[in-house]
């Protein structure tokens, strides 16, 4: 009996408990949510510590019902199953960390603490569910849950234009979910159909008997697809492109990105941390898990497309961030820029590139969360995140400014932060695959320095704009997220082998299936 179920399970329980709390006790729901996230974190650490080193571990499976004779005589069992592997473990831990820090460090927005923490817990549970799902059905359920939890968080607790942003979020990501669904069902049915074909047409190669039953189970599908690489070729490009489209929307890649800056502009700080920290990494996770993991030949085939879009995203995000007038928008676009590099790294389809992409997911998650936290704290004090109205904040709040600078430096890829090691590996991979495109992409290094330092200079440097008397530096409780996130960024940057081992293994596993 594994513990993976309880990774998303603990926040779900917390969410249910918040429903039964008395309305008056506002602080209580925060406590409950915090406990839920803390439990997930503890479990994640336990799972990591006892991870055997390869393959899926700590698995749970529950079958719910079986649909008999769905298609070509196959039965389909629907159920939930959870598990972790080297790719998901660091991401799971990161999610739990960010969630815990967000609930501890950020004040609950007005409008009903109970409802807020209910949706927040569900969002975290959904993200954890996506990361731990070992079954396409589970995966989709979690993805949908994340969609709705995010929608309600933005729609009820966001800024003045929250409805618009929330519906955009819902529609875009809703389409992405449909794409994922189509691709998944196509994969599962395609393999099952292959079995049928193999059984009836003598000319097709004989497949192992385990191959081709209609199943949604991820490990089985991965195994099957390895055997079936040569046969099931007709539908593969179409499936991959559908999946890719979903990933692009999910990941807010240009030109499907406009929902992200708007959502970030409207959402509250804690939601921004979760959304920027982990939710926008789900797309890359899908691409790694299902694109590279199941359709590696298609990733090879569309490698150039991925690389081109990666470079476009790096540059587009950087340029858009340069002229962003507020921190929220800037961080959103810098995250898009980061994810462009992830795409570029994946497109190379070599160990370094994949490893770099994984590192970048973690790094971008940490740094985006930190940036949102600091800029959110500043916004709470000054009342604005528009750079034109800020200035000289180093004087009244040196600590917050210092952390903002640190986060910016990490984000622009300064060595000894996680940003650098991610960029390095991603580019190492990318240059091996697409040297000329990567050269263009490397311009992003200069641009990221430009827009981040420009923003820093406008915000914290220079003479003070707003009256300093009312502005206070970080409160004690706010140091926890600041210090923990900073420490994690440094740990990954200074000694990357802490996650490098697992990620390296995952990269090799993914490539092993491909090759």
């Amino acid at each position: 009996m594994g513990l993976s179920l309880w990774l998303p399970g603990a926040p779900v329980i917390a969410a249910l408990v918040t429903l039964f709390l008395p309305t008056r006790a506002a602080g209580l729901s925060r406590l409950v949510a915090g406990f839920g996230f803390a439990a997930s974190l503890v479990l994640a650490v336990l799972a990591w510590a006892s991870y055997p080193g390869a393959g899926y571990a700590h698995m749970n499976s529950f079958s719910w019902f079986t649909l008999p004779n769905v298609w070509l005589g196959h039965n389909l069992t629907i159920g939930l199953s959870f598990g972790v592997d080297g790719l998901s473990l660091p991401l799971v831990t990161l999610t739990a960390v960010i969630a815990l820090l967000a609930v501890v460090g950020v004040p609950t927005p007005a409008g009903g603490a109970r409802v807020y923490h209910f949706w927040q817990s569900l969002l975290v549970a959904a993200i954890l569910g996506v990361l731990t799902a070992l079954d396409l059905f589970t995966f989709l359920v979690a993805l949908e849950l994340a969609l709705f939890a995010g929608f309600f968080l933005i729609q009820q607790f966001g800024g003045p234009r929250r409805r618009h942003a929330a519906f955009k979020f819902l529609l875009y990501r809703g389409f992405a979910t449909i794409g994922v669904l189509v691709a998944f069902v196509g994969l599962a049915y395609g393999l099952a159909g292959l079995y049928y074909q193999g059984a009836t047409v003598a000319s097709t190669p004989k497949l192992p008997s385990s191959v081709g039953s209609l199943t949604f189970s991820l490990p089985t599908l991965q195994q099957d697809i390895g055997h079936a690489a040569a046969v099931f070729s007709g539908a593969r490009p179409a499936l991959f492109l559908v999946l890719l489209l979903a990933v692009f929307i999910e990941e807010a890649f240009v030109p499907f990105h406009t929902w992200l800056p708007q959502a970030h502009e409207q959402a509250d700080t804690a939601t921004n941390m979760l959304m920027g920290g982990m939710m926008t990494k789900i797309g890359a996770y899908i691409l790694l898990r299902f694109g590279v993991g199941m359709l590696p030949d298609q990733v090879h085939r569309f490698s150039l497309l991925l690389a081109v879009f990666g470079v476009i995203n790096i540059l587009y995000g950087a340029f858009a961030a340069w002229v962003a007038d507020g921190w929220r928008r800037l961080i959103a676009f810098s995250s898009i820029s980061h994810m462009g590099l992830v795409l570029l790294g994946i497109s190379a389809m070599n160990a370094a590139g994949l490893q770099g992409a994984m590192f970048m997911m973690v790094s971008s998650g940490l740094l985006t969360a930190l940036l949102f936290f600091v800029s959110g704290a500043m916004e709470a004090r000054t009342g604005t995140s528009q750079m034109g109205q800020l200035g000289g904040l180093s004087k009244p709040m040196p600590m917050l400014s210092g952390f903002l600078l640190f986060a910016a430096l990490g984000s622009l890829g300064l060595p000894l932060t996680s940003g650098f090691i991610s960029e390095l590996q991603a580019f190492l991979g990318a240059f091996a695959g697409h040297p000329y495109l990567s050269l263009v992409g490397a311009l992003g290094l200069v641009l990221s320095a430009t827009y981040l330092l420009y923003a820093i200079q406008k915000t914290t440097f220079g003479p003070a704009v707003s009256p300093a008397a009312a502005l206070t530096d970080a409160r004690p409780v706010e140091y926890l997220p600041l210090v923990v996130l900073t420490a994690l960024v440094l740990v990954v940057g200074v000694y990357p082998a802490v996650i490098g081992g697992l990620f390296g293994l995952s990269a090799h596993t993914l490539l092993g299936i491909g090759g």
């Binding site: 650098f420 190492l428 320095a449 390296g504």
Partner: protein
């Protein structure tokens, strides 16, 4: 003792951590004391290491630790000790400890005093870490750390808008070069089949096994060398990326001293020296290095002629001198480039600290508000004079030996164009530095209010000046014909550089005399124009108004860059924003509106009459049944 070399960078790091933890309320004496003592120990250690390494013929030692596995390649970090590294350790730690001492007086009373020391310690640590890196990746890591520290220190007075701008500019401009180095590093890694190690890279280069799928050995070598050199150009403020360095003068003066003498800008020259076998393998790259160096030397010297800010003059002199070093490396005179780096570190630190002492006394940086300070600041005056003579290349000061060797090498190799570039630059150098000297220390005060209360700082400020003055005067003797070209020999032991140092320069007396005469001519001209009270400079400026304006406005490079790169970049960014807002989001919004309009239209079918809905449902039922009956799908 060489086993203890890892302590050299770690001691300043310990200082940094200590100050970080003790907070900004740390007493000044504690902050400065701890830093000076720790770096002092580092300095002593590096001296010991330097001398212990001397007699060993083979290249030094390396200690490695596993850091990360990328793909199938293992990346290590560690410490590598070569003769070049040992020399750099000495230079860096020696200058640093003096600057740290000097800062205690200069920064006295600043409310972020301990933060300043914190950054300085980090700066020293980064530079020391850089010079003992065993591989390109570690070098790059510290390289960027150095850049970060310079950003923090140049922007130390962040509340001044100019300082904030200068800090940003320094980071971004060097970042352009860094990106080149980054790409070069990646290409070398891929080309060698997965190693950042200097030795592995040099082996691959010399064996012509450096290759990528899309590029052969020779092409890749040149490309990588040029990209690496781009990094050096950014860091060492070579043309065309030199524009950040003068602006970096907005930082506190000790920082300028540190940046210009020992840490930041020296990194670029060190990088080219460290990667010298790579450059040697590619003649086009070497030629590029030489010419960039020569052009920079002259260009910066010409700009320095007319600047009004004392620190900017010295800053341009740094750029010019760095140009000499690059020139030396470019013509293959590896040891001479390093030699000039060595001497320059001392006399440039001296000039900056002396300038700092002057600024500290009169609280202005404008040359034309000073004057006659020689009597009030005697120690500063004489030490500045020593530095100026060294810079001007007057026998027997240190600068003479190193600069003259470079010019001689250029002459003897037949690079006449480079020789003349260097010589003209030398003339300008002598002129502009003595223009500063005469304007500051001789004649009458031009602004009595400022200069009347001027006095020397405390011993912490004067002692470093005296020590550096001695070094600036004598440091050249480590590599003279009489001392048997000691430094060249020392560096010859380096396995990596032995080929480079194989052809020592033969000093020729006529050339020596000629260059000294040129230097003296420059000094004489400066005396004629500025040494006496006259209106000659103004008349001359009027007569040569166009060249004067070009020099004063730094060849308009800042303006050119601003109107091309910055404005162009912003234009693209605005374009992206417009694209984002009107095209991409516009299409989406229009699509959403269309759906909305369609919904509005369909709304009118909802007339609230249940039976109307029923009719439609009945129609659907009939259709379904008819379809089923007709056998489509074979349900019935």
């Amino acid at each position: 003792m060489t086993d203890w070399v890892w302590l050299v960078p770690l001691l300043p790091l310990a200082g940094y951590v200590f100050l970080l933890l003790s907070g900004r309320r740390t007493p000044e004496a504690v902050a400065a004391g701890v830093s000076v003592v720790l770096t002092g120990i580092s300095c002593v250690l590096s001296l010991v290491v330097f001398f212990q390494l001397g007699p060993e013929p083979a290249g030094g030692q390396t200690w490695l630790f596993h850091w990360l596995t990328i793909g199938s390649a293992h990346v290590d970090v560690g410490i590598s000790l070569t003769h070049l590294n040992a020399l750099m350790l000495v230079v860096v730690s020696l200058v640093s400890v003096l600057v740290l001492l000097f800062s205690q007086g200069y920064m006295h009373g600043d409310e972020r005093f301990s933060v300043f020391y914190q950054y300085l310690n980090l700066f020293v640590f980064s530079m020391l870490g850089l010079v003992i890196s065993p591989n390109l990746l570690q070098l790059y890591i510290f390289w960027e750390m150095v850049g970060l520290c310079s950003y923090l220190l140049v922007g130390f007075w962040y509340f001044k808008p100019e300082a904030a701008l200068a800090a940003k500019k320094s980071f971004i401009v060097t970042r352009i070069g860094d990106t080149g180095l980054f790409v070069g590093m990646i290409l070398l890694f891929l080309g060698t089949g997965g190693s950042f190690d200097f030795t592995a890279i040099f082996q691959a280069v010399s064996a012509h096994t450096l290759h990528l799928g899309w590029m052969g050995s020779q092409g890749l070598t040149t490309l990588a060398a040029l990209l690496v050199f781009l990094g050096a150009v950014g860091k060492s403020a070579q043309f065309p990326l030199h524009v950040w360095l003068p602006d970096a003068m907005e930082g506190p003066t000790p920082v300028s001293a540190l940046i210009h003498a020992a840490t930041m800008v020296a990194a670029g020259v060190y990088l080219v020296a460290r990667m010298f076998p790579l450059f040697q393998a590619s003649p086009p790259a070497l030629t590029t290095v030489a010419w960039i160096g020569g052009v920079t030397a002259l260009l910066a010297a010409l700009i320095a002629l007319t600047q009004r800010d004392i620190k900017r003059v010295i800053a341009y002199s740094t750029i010019s001198q760095l140009g000499y070093m690059m020139l030396a490396l470019g013509i293959g005179a590896y040891a001479l480039g390093v030699f000039h780096l060595f001497t320059h570190a001392f006399f440039k630190a001296l000039l900056f600290l002396a300038a700092g002492s002057v600024i500290h006394a009169v609280d202005t940086q404008d040359l034309f508000q000073m004057g006659g300070l020689g009597r009030k600041l005697p120690i500063t005056r004489w030490s500045f004079l020593a530095g100026a003579l060294a810079l001007a290349g007057i026998f027997p000061f240190s600068g003479f030996w190193s600069k003259d060797d470079i010019l001689t090498a250029a002459w003897q190799r037949g690079d006449m164009a480079l020789y003349w570039l260097g010589l003209v630059a030398a003339f300008c150098t002598a002129f502009y530095i003595f223009r500063v000297y005469f304007l500051v220390f001789t004649g009458q005060s031009r602004d009595e209010e400022r200069t009347v209360g001027a006095h020397e700082g405390s011993w912490v400020m004067t002692v470093p000046l005296v020590i550096l003055a001695a070094l600036a005067t004598l440091a050249g003797f480590v590599n003279t014909p009489w001392t048997g070209h000691g430094l060249e020999r020392y560096l010859e032991h380096d396995a990596t550089a032995s080929a480079a140092a194989a052809t020592p320069v033969q000093e020729s007396l006529p050339l020596m005399v000629f260059s000294v005469v040129v230097g003296l001519l420059g000094i004489g001209l400066a005396y004629l124009l500025y040494g006496r009270k006259s209106d000659a400079p103004a008349r001359l400026a009027e007569k040569l108004s166009i060249p004067y304006a070009i020099s004063l406005h730094k060849f308009y490079l800042d303006e050119v860059y601003y109107h091309t790169v910055v404005v162009g970049g912003k234009l693209v960014a605005r374009l992206v924003r417009a694209l984002d807002r009107y095209l991409i989001d516009g299409i989406i919004e229009v699509g959403a509106r269309l759906v909305g309009v369609l919904g509005l239209a369909l709304k009118y079918t909802q007339n609230g009459q249940v039976q109307a809905y029923g009719v439609i449902a009945a129609f659907g039922l009939v259709v379904v049944i008819v379809v089923a009956v007709l056998g489509v799908g074979g349900v019935l």
